[in-house]
């Protein structure tokens, strides 16, 4: 029920260039990806597009996702560092990577879906508790990171945000049935 990879430090892994590399796709990773690929976007369409590019074998998208996923354990890593690692990858590695990266991202963020589809589950209480207690971040920051901007939440879940921001967030937020994709792209069910 809970997106364990998102909420714990247990990473997913990918294999290339003869090594196994840990990937953690958390809020930080998604923010870094957003800053790189869609600094102006308030919806999460860019993430869907990015994942589609990864699926199609786009090396820039693959490299960006690997970089973001590796950042938690290697905060000083740059995009070019990861690109240099990819230079050591075999062609078979390059072909196998998209599926591995997407599996890791979907473990964390849920499956990007069209309207009417189903995404993975999500637990607000655990997510918020992890954010605050484990990562030492503020609750306000959680909501900012989750919803990105007020503009982006003005199309359906604004009421939810309003209630959540007024305190007692974890008890007022829906307990399950939302993936991070739902939250960030605000496509409630």
């Amino acid at each position: 029920m809970i997106q364990s990879h998102l909420l714990t430090t247990e990473p997913s892994t990918v294999q290339f260039a003869g090594s196994t590399w840990p990937l953690i796709f958390d809020f930080w990773a998604i923010r870094k990806l957003g800053q790189r690929y869609a600094p102006e976007d308030t919806s999460l369409d860019w993430l869907r597009e990015l994942m589609a590019k990864v699926a199609a074998g786009d090396i820039d998208a693959m490299c960006g996702c690997l970089w973001a996923g590796m950042l938690r354990e290697n905060p000083t890593l740059t995009f070019d560092d990861v690109l240099a690692l990819l230079d050591e990858a075999s062609f078979a590695d390059l072909v196998a990577l998209p599926e591995q990266i997407l599996a890791a991202m979907q473990d964390a963020y849920g499956i990007p879906r069209e309207a009417g589809g189903t995404g993975g589950p999500w637990d607000w209480e655990v997510a918020l508790a992890t954010w605050v207690k484990e990562w030492g971040r503020s609750e306000a920051e959680f909501w900012r990171a989750t919803f990105r901007t007020f503009t982006s939440i003005s199309n359906g879940l604004a009421k939810l945000y309003e209630k959540a921001s007024q305190g007692g967030a974890s008890t007022r937020a829906p307990a399950e049935g939302y993936s991070l994709f739902d939250l960030l792209s605000l496509r409630g069910r």
């Binding site: 074998g57 786009d58 090396i59 240099a84 990819l86 230079d87 050591e88 062609f91 078979a92 390059l94």
Partner: protein
């Protein structure tokens, strides 16, 4: 069986510059960002007489991308100027070399995709034993 990209290129001095074209991730990323489909670009190069029939700009991009892994600060403009002023035989050799190595990378990627889509028969047999 696929080869490792890093092992497909050899360095060579042409026109007073040491070239070491490598069509690994760095180069393929640049070419993908500029031309989109790597397969279509490779086809275009092969159809245009191993790249000889393409514009100087396109030839320069192909060579610049291949050289970036070993010369990260190399500027496209420098490669364009090099090609414009180099002995035509040097330009022809360099473009042919780059086209051949890039096309090989694209073919190797395609071969790896076929390998991935068709796992060895023995693996299926093993899976079947448990049934």
């Amino acid at each position: 069986m696929t080869t490792t990209p890093a092992k497909t290129a050899t360095s060579c001095e042409l026109g007073g510059h040491v070239w070491d074209l490598k069509y690994t991730a760095t180069a393929l990323r640049h070419l993908q960002m500029i031309f989109g489909s790597l397969e279509q670009f490779a086809t275009q190069l092969l159809k245009e007489n191993m790249g000889q029939g393409l514009s100087l700009k396109t030839q320069a991009i192909l060579i610049w991308a291949g050289q970036k892994a070993v010369e990260p600060k190399l500027r496209l403009r420098w490669v364009e100027r090099f090609l414009r002023t180099a002995d035509p035989r040097v330009r022809m050799l360099l473009v042919t070399w780059a086209t051949a190595d890039f096309a090989r990378a694209v073919f190797e990627l395609a071969a790896a995709r076929i390998d991935a889509a068709n796992p060895p028969v023995g693996q299926d047999d093993e899976d079947g034993e448990g049934l």
